[in-house]
């Protein structure tokens, strides 16, 4: 821009298209993969790491099964979001809900130096529902019938969270994390008129993904039909920051000069 001051009569009417942010809410360090305290399914407990029982390398089901090689370390390689997720909905009770579906890809190192890639929840099974060639880990979030998810819930001052596993055929396709919170949590608060605006749009940003793993100990898990299989108990938690913005498109007219 030139250093000279342009007189007001040189100004012109300029129409600008922009998006006005009506409200914003940022959640820091949200744990999106967890398990409730054992025995508490009420949603009032505390988040605990998800306990995975990763099948030892070389372990096979049996009455007196071979121990195989236990897990030495676990690394999260990738978190893949299901297409069209995360998404946002406004509920009838004037709350907003963020729904996120994702899968995790873990790189597992065993004591014998072997490495394996595990896709969760696709290769997860319930204890007692071992599927040869498919099951790489067991988890308590799947009911004993091996077909349905046991949702984990958490309620805290108006906000509620739910974690479930989405079934697909005989296996599971994704974790589904839901975060529901009142609309007055937005900053600034969203008015009812703004809420009914047919042009209302939202954007969700998931950032700063990080995780915690803890190798516990080798343990036998029921594999079904009276057999057992050797696994290694591993605790896993995933955290991230979740930001959601609500806004509307705006055409605004200003008086001024545009850069040539």
């Amino acid at each position: 821009m030139s250093g000279t001051v342009n007189p007001v009569y040189d100004w012109q009417q300029i129409e600008i298209f922009t998006r006005q942010i009506l409200g914003k809410k940022a959640f820091q360090d949200v744990c999106t993969l967890w398990q409730e305290n054992s025995g508490q399914q009420s949603g009032n407990g505390a988040k605990q790491p998800m306990r995975l029982y990763i099948v030892n390398d070389g372990a096979c089901p049996g009455v007196s099964p071979a121990a195989g090689s236990p897990v030495k370390s676990v690394k999260l390689c990738k978190r893949a979001a299901v297409p069209d997720y995360p998404k946002n909905t406004i509920t009838g009770t004037k709350k907003t809900r963020i729904i996120h579906r994702y899968s995790l890809i873990l790189l597992t190192e065993y004591e014998n130096g072997e490495f394996r890639v595990i896709t969760l929840p696709r290769q997860l099974s319930a204890p007692g529902s071992y599927r040869k060639g498919s099951t790489m880990a067991f988890c308590g979030m799947i009911s004993t019938d091996g077909q349905t998810s046991v949702p984990q819930r958490m309620n805290d001052t108006g906000c509620s969270e739910k974690l479930a596993i989405i079934p697909e055929g005989n296996s599971f396709s994704a974790f589904e994390y839901m975060l529901t919170f009142p609309l007055n949590a937005f900053e600034p608060a969203i008015s009812p008129v703004e809420l009914e605006n047919p042009g209302l749009k939202s954007t969700i940003i998931l950032s700063n993904l990080r995780y915690e793993t803890d190798i516990i100990e080798p343990v036998t898990v029921p594999a079904g039909e009276g057999s057992l299989i050797w696994t290694t108990a591993v605790d896993l938690m995933v955290y991230e920051d979740i930001t959601i913005k609500l806004g509307v498109d705006q055409d605004i007219i200003v008086q001024g000069l545009s850069e040539p």
């Binding site: 909905t89 009838g92 809900r97 009914e196 047919p198 042009g199 940003i205 915690e212 806004g247």
Partner: protein, 115 residues
């Protein structure tokens, strides 16, 4: 806690979905079944707008039906007998007749004002 080189996920700006209007659509399919869904998607209008549009369309149809009924009535030769109104005079006469029969008033018969 381990850092993880995972790219951030940004959904971009998308229209907000109202769960209640979704349920309403599921509960009342007949009302908006005829709405052009492609058009609806094209303009990104929420279901409430589609319902308003449907109501307006139905109102338009009702208006057209009323107009056609009017035309039909105009074309028909409907002649109604105009009821003969009972004028005051005969009634007054009858009343006066009754009253004089009872011997209560005389001025009614003479047509004088009843002050």
């Amino acid at each position: 806690m381990k850092g993880f080189s995972c790219p951030d996920i940004d959904t971009g700006w998308k229209p907000v979905i109202h769960e209640d209007s979704q349920n309403a659509r599921a509960d009342r399919p007949s009302l908006i079944d005829n709405v052009d869904e492609d058009k609806h998607a094209e303009y990104d209008m929420p279901a409430t707008d589609a319902q308003i549009r449907e109501i307006l369309r139905m109102l338009g149809e009702i208006q057209r039906e009323i107009a056609s009924l009017k035309q039909m009535i105009k074309g028909m030769d409907i002649s109604c007998r105009v009821p003969e109104g009972r004028k005051g005079k005969p009634r007054k006469r009858r009343l006066a007749k009754k009253l004089t029969a009872w011997g209560e008033v005389d001025h009614v018969r003479n047509g004088e004002p009843s002050i």
